[in-house]
Symmetry: C2
Subunit: 243 residues, 2 copies
């Protein structure tokens, strides 16, 4: 059904020499690894690329790999039987993907932009994990962060209004992009309105109406359809109502 795009040249073992120069390294789990362990990790892995709208993994598939995003944006989602979709989050450069309790992926993962990842077979990663306490600590710390983010998202979905959700979303995205060295005012939106709606528990129409309202308030300015310029951060923060 969904095809996996990959550069044939980027097969196993391409990572070690490139790791030092990797732009995602400072934001990735591998930054905790000293050189020998880094080499071991790299040897087990492979660089893969995915075109936009292709699946990194499908819900229900056996969980054979873990991923480190080194470039691009991916979307995590879950489907209900009747087709309703909940988008669980977006991963950016440096984010890790692979914590899963069971043997099968419990979510779908799709590339929104051209994506580059370091991909590792789960058994090899598991072995390295057992022998590398720093890596395990880093993972535990990231799991903590993810849990924190999930709780903020739960609060958003359970208790916030449409406009509050959209403002929270824009600010959250702005902060993450700024932390990666991007602009804190020009927010890139590589996802569609439908993706945003499924992330915020709304419809695309309501997302669009909320953005239009923010434009009317001169709080933001849309730049094409896939970027937003933040004009009045404070107004957004007020409209987002608390963390």
């Amino acid at each position: 059904m969904l095809q996996l795009t990959q550069t044939p040249a980027a097969e196993a073992g391409a990572c070690p020499q490139a790791c030092e120069a990797c732009s995602a390294r400072p934001f990735s789990i591998c930054h905790v690894l000293p050189h020998p362990d880094l080499r071991r990790l790299a040897d087990g892995g492979a660089v893969k690329t995915f075109a936009p709208h292709t699946a990194l993994v499908c819900e229900g598939e056996p969980a054979e790999h873990v991923f480190n995003i080194t470039e691009g944006v991916v979307m995590l989602y879950r489907l209900l039987t009747d087709g309703r979709r909940q988008v669980l989050g977006f991963l950016l450069k440096g984010d890790f993907l692979g914590l899963t309790a069971g043997a099968a992926y419990d979510l779908g993962v799709e590339a929104l932009t051209p994506v580059r990842v370091c991909r590792f077979p789960r058994p090899a990663f598991r072995r390295l994990l057992l022998e590398t306490p720093q890596l395990e600590q880093e993972l535990l710390s990231r799991a903590s962060d993810e849990l924190l983010a999930a709780r903020a998202h739960l609060t958003l979905l359970g208790r916030k209004t449409a406009i509050e959700r959209v403002c929270s979303f824009l600010l959250h995205l702005a902060d993450r992009q700024a932390r990666l060295g991007g602009s804190a005012e020009l927010i890139e939106l590589p996802m569609t309105r439908t993706d945003i709606a499924d992330y915020l528990g709304l419809t695309p129409e309501t997302v669009s109406r909320s953005l239009s309202m923010l434009k009317r308030l001169k709080a933001v300015l849309t730049v094409g359809t896939d970027a937003v310029r933040l004009l009045k951060r404070e107004m957004l923060e007020d409209l987002a109502e608390a963390a």
Copy 2:
């Protein structure tokens, strides 16, 4: 404001000899520890009890302890500035509480029933964690599970209808109680309708109406106000619409 109840007899060090007989042990993180490490853990900790409606920790307080629930039910929640509340989850016997990214608790925790916990100072727990890989693995595994549960909850809040939310909630609770050795049909509800509503992103009225509808369908039978007898599990599963 909120008082902490504790048995004076149950101060530090009460745990080690009692650990072997602890009814929560098989469900707790400590079940992975061999005896010497168990003793070390126990020595650093203290048994505490909390009366219903008292706070184990308050949002914003410095995060000084981690907890293991050995008896009772506690509720996790987050508050918005204007008083809206999102209940994040309920912890039962054997559940661990303490994964937090920052220096302050990012959530409030309240006892719903008489609660007994093993409480450990965070620094001591952290030290033990660094020296006990099994414990760290167990925590990572639990963090994975929590993340999985959080994602299911996100899907519920973002995409399910009122009746679907209530059915999902009842089934989830039934399964957890059954796993702890309780009845799979008689579901205890130690929380109020308002607590349930704040967990499900609804109002107490809507929760009540949904339960009434399930009674009309003869899918459940309320037993007093704080228990529900499950009559037709399959009907609930259909109404809950997928996982």
